[in-house]
Amino acid sequence: SQELEQSPQSLIVQEGKNLTINCTSSKTLYGLYWYKQKYGEGLIFLMMLQKGGEEKSHEKITAKLDEKKQQSSLHITASQPSHAGIYLCGADMHGGNQFYFGTGTSLTVIP
């Protein structure tokens, strides 16, 4: 069973539009990470959230972890073609040494 679900699965937006990607877990998250993957390439760390209610921003990307630490959202403001790629949330949900990724969200930004 999939423990980290992302929605939507794919997203196509016009350049300049805002968008939100969600990551939901059935269990409490021991830290939630957001990564970006360009097609066929490696994973780029975006940010990590640890505390319930925490919110972090980097350039035009903001991520938030809800109070119960079971859902996170990633928001991109004024999207650009450089934002295109696959966004992955990742977390350790078992308190051990397993780190799982979500199902991924493919983002296309149309110039």
Binding site: Y30, G31, Q37, A91, N97, F99
Partner: protein
């Protein structure tokens, strides 16, 4: 900036052959991971390694897989007898702390093609 390096970047092999994928984690890191991504699919956890032994492994990590840290710097993934379905991108990662407390650093990946 320190980085995780992986070799080879691409390997083509015949079905049934043994393959070793190599990773050099960041030097002071303590936790090491291998992930697999079949083309167009999600990134899947294979195994985690700490203190010179496997700490967790997934159902994918069956007897044909093994990991080793032979010399204190390299971290290898061996696939004993490759199958067509082993074709994927394999990512190595390392972190200084346990997951949830620090960034997991990833290598650029090794693409394995099994013919």
């Amino acid at each position: 900036e320190p980085e995780v390096t992986q070799t080879p970047s691409h390997q083509v092999t015949q079905m049934g052959q043994e393959v070793i994928l190599r990773c050099v984690p960041i030097s002071n890191h303590l936790y090491f991971y291998w992930y697999r991504q079949i083309l167009g699919q999600k990134v899947e956890f294979l195994v985690s390694f700490y203190n010179n032994e496997i700490s967790e492994k997934s159902e994918i990590f069956d007897d044909q897989f093994s990991v080793e840290r032979p010399d204190g710097s390299n971290f290898t993934l061996k696939i004993r007898s490759t199958k067509l379905e082993d074709s994927a991108m394999y990512f190595c990662a390392s972190t200084l702390w346990t997951p949830g407390t620090g960034e997991l650093f990833f290598g650029e990946g090794s693409r394995l093609t099994v013919l």
